[in-house]
Symmetry: C2
Subunit: 235 residues, 2 copies
């Protein structure tokens, strides 16, 4: 089992350890979700490989000046570089330093929420640790999973990392401006997404050129959460 | 703890579970290493993010027709795409399908070795699961760790994923042909590597143009392992 993250061969990890950790995580995730809903805040779990452009998506969204009020937490093993980039772009952000863990869990997000005024928000983004495997498995209390998949990563990634793409509600095909230099086979990429995602939905996106921004903002608007006052008192 | 990989918040995973798994893994890793050394085979653990170009490095190495006899195993959650690419390039290769786990462990490699004739090899490459966190933690019995870091991933990755880069003996800065389209700040990237790697060593590499191939082959030659006959009988 990982010194850093607790990863292990699932055959070697006692089943009861798995189950109790999952049950504990799911309870906190349900609490987080209730909390977001109570304040009418859409919560997103933004995942993807290291360097897939998760932070750049949020920076570009902030630059679009849509009036959508966004805040974020960024998970990383070390450094607060992403949160500083987001703050500089106008998105209030905090860092969750995992030190070792290769993903965020519901309790980490819950602790971070104590520093966030949800009444001032429309969208709360959890920018997960860069990892195309483990983050998909933990419920954080989000309403939707968004995966940033850079076109530089290759067309086969949905097939090779199916756990992540089975859980994705939306895939942003980032760095599309680089596609002409790569010879990306978009048909193959789309087929891989269709073969893996239960409800295939993707947007070709470039933080640099603005490609896909309109579709991304329309998707965000369509996902808006209406506050449920009764639940708001649940905290 | 992950349904897929056993990842968990290290604070929640019992210490004794950690320790017994690590001890078991290290025993098998030592056995693997003895085995490689007995046959005079250099064993490499090739790691990097999804889409960082690990397979492409090996394909390009095969195309260079150096006479170095290489075989490989490729770890992936699903598909045998990488092993098929390697076979097509002339590198005997097998797939280790992890199904769920986000990294390989020594036992998985040990089982794969039963199908490999080490007497016919100079170099055995374990192409790990695409993941910049967990694979660094497990000893597989390799002699050296090579990390493929694509220049598309951003200059900050060594700082943000220090566990991986602290363990790296060599970093291949892959997809260097794309650098002009990205505005890569190589000074910042090199500083990040120097700040993280105990003995900083990197090669700018492009599987497409051949940049860095000569330096990579020289590094490989410098690492050649001489057979230790006494150990060869240890199996």
């Amino acid at each position: 089992m990982c010194d850093t993250c607790g990863c292990g061969d699932p055959n070697l990890v006692p089943v009861e350890v798995h189950e109790s950790l999952f049950a504990a995580n799911d309870r906190v995730a349900a609490h987080n979700r209730e909390h977001f809903r109570g304040h009418g805040v859409l919560a997103l779990n933004l995942m993807g490989s290291p360097g897939s452009g998760k932070t750049a998506v949020l920076e570009a969204t902030a630059r679009a000046r849509t009036g959508i009020r966004i805040a974020a937490v960024s998970g990383d093993l070390a450094t607060d570089l992403d949160a500083r980039r987001l703050e500089a772009a106008g998105i209030p952000a905090r860092t969750i330093t995992t030190g070792s863990a290769c993903h965020l869990d519901a309790e980490m997000v819950h602790r971070a929420l104590h520093h966030v005024d949800l009444d001032q928000l429309d969208v709360f983004v959890v920018e997960n640790v860069g990892n195309l495997v483990c983050p998909a498995v933990y419920d954080l209390g989000q309403h939707a999973n968004v995966v940033a998949l850079s076109v530089t990563e290759g067309e086969d990634k949905p097939l090779k990392y199916p756990v992540m793409f089975r859980k994705a509600d939306l895939v942003l095909l980032t760095k599309c401006d680089l596609a002409p230099h790569l010879g990306v086979d978009f048909d193959a990429l789309h087929r891989a997404l269709e073969a893996t995602m239960p409800e295939p939905r993707w947007i070709s996106f470039s933080a640099r050129t603005g490609e896909g921004m309109e579709a991304w903002l329309a998707w965000l608007s369509g996902r808006r959460v209406t506050a449920a006052p009764a639940a708001a008192a649940a905290r």
